[in-house]
């Protein structure tokens, strides 16, 4: 009986932790949506691209080696060096900034003032492009990513809980780290968007491109800034998920797990991304766990969406999203 209870608690906690992992991806979406009203479909691919780049740098891979080999008949694969995690992360962040600049210059700049769905479509084009680019640059193999984050069940927690409750809780150390990192990111991002001039400008841009231009806000600057931050967030998400399951194409699909989170929390709310993640994480785990076996399992994907949908019916802008202004 007691065991059942502890077990439920364990599922609950693991749900929370999974939710945090989802939130890490959702955060990137929120940032870009807040700053430009763009629903960035490419966020998942950006996480993949960042992780690929990070591994590539760490392992000293020659970028585009396949292409070069195919064209010149060479046999390049690796440089003779490897790079430490910290330096590699900084370098990768640099690459993401570069990417943000390119995206602004080549895409967004030309689409100022277009409807959201058009911009959405452009990010889909971007997703295709980045996916191809990531593969061409770094190859399509599965890569193991190890930046020194601890992984596996935490023995300390297991022993402590075993001593206290007579039931050892299994909690992944990677998840604990993810929670810390997510909390930090959220705090920093909330402070930035609510209390700084650039944050205010960013929200202004989301509301009305033309008006933002007319008061002298440089869309170019705001967008590069926001996409850089979102690129960095993607890198963080890529590190966490890549550590967990290897860096490979499927990493880009975690975006689909982030969408219900976003929806539930509200597209425009940074704290919403976290709270939404927690609710979705716990909700889908509990459902899969107790109802799943009755209906054949594998319910998580749709259940997350249905859960979000139920919330939306009551709050169409998500839990913390900005009220949708309806006036005539």
């Amino acid at each position: 009986m007691m065991d059942q209870f502890f077990f439920a608690a364990e599922v609950f906690i693991n749900g929370l932790m999974t939710g945090v992992m989802y939130s890490l991806v959702a955060l990137g979406f929120v940032l870009i949506y807040k700053a430009s009203g763009v629903f960035n479909y490419a966020q998942g691919v950006m996480a993949l691209f960042a992780a690929l780049t990070l591994v590539g740098i760490m392992d000293g891979q020659v970028p585009f080696s396949h292409l070069i080999n195919a064209m010149f008949g060479t046999h390049l694969s690796n440089f003779s060096w490897t790079v430490g995690p910290l330096v590699a992360i900084i370098l990768t962040a640099g690459v993401m900034v570069l990417l943000a600049i390119l995206i602004e210059k080549l895409v967004l700049q030309h689409l100022v003032g277009q409807e959201p769905i058009i911009l959405f479509m452009a990010t889909i084009g971007l997703a295709y492009f980045l996916e191809g680019l990531g593969d061409v640059m770094w190859g399509a193999d599965i890569k193991t990513l190890d930046v020194g984050l601890p992984q596996g069940i935490s023995d300390t927690i297991e022993q402590a809980t075993a001593n206290w409750f007579g039931y050892g809780f299994f909690i992944d150390r990677l998840d604990i780290w993810a929670t810390f990192i997510a909390a930090l990111l959220v705090a920093a991002l909330v402070a930035f968007s609510q209390y700084t001039k650039q944050g205010r400008a960013m929200r202004a841009v989301a509301d009305d491109h033309q008006a933002a231009l007319s008061v002298g806000i440089s869309l170019q600057f705001i967008w590069i800034m926001v996409w850089s931050i979102a690129g960095f967030v993607a890198l963080v998400a890529g590190i966490m998920w890549g550590t967990k399951s290897g860096v490979q194409f499927s990493l880009s699909l975690i975006a689909l797990k982030a969408l219900p989170v976003l929806m539930l929390g509200g597209f425009t709310s940074i704290p919403g991304a976290i709270v939404g993640g927690l609710i979705i994480g716990v909700g889908e785990k509990m459902f899969e766990f107790w109802v799943g076996p009755l209906v054949g399992g594998a319910t998580e994907n749709w259940f997350a969406y249905v859960l979000a949908l139920i919330f939306l019916v009551f709050r169409p802008q998500g839990l913390f999203g900005e009220r949708i202004i309806e006036r005539v």
Binding site: M121, I124, G125, G132, D135, P316
Partner: protein, 358 residues
């Protein structure tokens, strides 16, 4: 002045509201249709049917369907794959349960069933808008796929959960099953495409279409001037799902012949059809065709060019193909955000003025 409308006067409101008000356009379309019906069936081969024409036609139907919902009624949907699955499974159940009934009726009924499902999943649209709705329709996508995967009744308890289309004939010609000739498959799809385009065109030029567009452009104002959002949105979901269901039925029964729901009707289908609609042009029937052509032909063309033409290794070609498709999507959006259909209209406007710049 290559393209002229001057001298093409209308003397009645009926003439003025016809589908192709400009004579030159009308002839052009008749010519295309004539070629499609009278020439193509005689020259078509397996490759052209399977790799190009069938997917193009079937996705055109799906794109018309989604365009009704997203382009005309303004409700972004990412549930297309799921609704196509409804069409596919409905037609499968009908075909196996009533083998004596003509498959054309099955396909239409499958569309009807999908319409009902679409209406049910359209209900949240009364509260939820924009991208929130888009994401909410994903609930339909994932739920439906899960359902067809989990409930064995849908796939007639086959061991692997695959469904396979039995052979059915129309006017004595096999149109489904392995023995169907490319020409027969092509013609049946063509018939449905023409039917879908014609019906969608009728709906969108009349009052129903105006209600949809009113809801799309400004839903509150529409309601105040008398549009009932409930019926307008749900009818859009219904009509859209009807076409999408037909497309799903054709995709499974005529084109693929066998399907497994997670693979054939996954989320990627939803995105693919949405791309077609946006690239082609929201709120344009012609755009649905243009978008379907773009998304079906471009990858095939690029693949043939890069692998066949330049002899690149397939993996490099595939990756670079992705990059090119992505870049082209962005390029076209920049050139004309409202899609290929608008681009085409712009070209016509230019042609009309030519050689003068404006």
């Amino acid at each position: 002045m290559f393209y002229r409308e001057a001298g093409d006067f209308k003397t009645s409101y009926r003439d003025d509201s016809q589908t192709f008000p400009i004579r030159l356009d009308r002839w052009g379309y008749y010519a295309i249709l004539a070629v499609a019906v009278l020439v193509v069936p005689f020259v078509i081969n397996d490759y052209w049917a399977s790799a190009i024409l069938l997917p193009f036609l079937i996705y055109s139907v799906a794109a018309i369907g989604l365009n009704v919902l997203t382009g005309y009624a303004g409700q972004v949907s990412l549930g297309t794959g799921g609704f196509m699955a409804v069409g596919a499974y409905a037609v499968y159940k009908l075909m196996t349960a009533f083998p004596e009934v003509n498959v054309v009726i099955h396909i239409l009924l499958a569309g009807g069933i999908t319409a009902l499902v679409g209406i049910a999943f359209g209900l949240p649209s009364l509260r939820i808008k924009g991208f929130y709705l888009a994401v909410a329709t994903l609930a339909a996508q994932f739920f439906l796929v899960w359902l067809f995967n989990k409930v064995p009744w849908f796939y007639n308890y086959s061991a692997s959960g695959q469904i396979t289309a039995p052979e059915r004939t129309v006017l004595g010609w096999a149109v489904t099953g392995p023995a169907a000739s490319p020409a027969a498959k092509y013609l049946i799809c063509l018939a449905f495409v023409v039917f879908a385009a014609w019906m969608a065109r009728n709906l969108t030029r009349g009052m129903i279409g105006r209600k949809w567009m009113a809801i799309r452009d400004m839903d509150i104002a529409a309601e105040i001037i008398g549009v009932n959002p409930l019926t307008a949105k749900l009818s859009a979901f219904g009509v859209s799902s009807f076409f999408v269901g037909i497309a799903g039925a054709l995709l499974f029964a005529v084109y693929l012949g066998a399907a497994e729901v997670t693979e054939a009707f996954g989320i990627n289908k939803s995105f693919l059809v949405l791309f077609m609609v946006i690239i082609g042009g929201l709120g344009s029937i012609f755009g649905s065709f243009a978008g379907a052509a773009f998304m079906v032909l471009l990858p095939v063309f690029l693949k043939n060019l890069l692998v066949g033409g330049f002899g690149w290794p397939t993996d490099l070609a595939a990756h670079i193909e992705l990059m090119i498709v992505g870049a082209l999507i962005i390029f076209f959006l920049i050139v004309e955000p409202h899609g290929l259909a608008r681009l085409w209209r712009l070209v016509k406007e230019k042609l009309r003025l030519w050689p003068f710049p404006h």
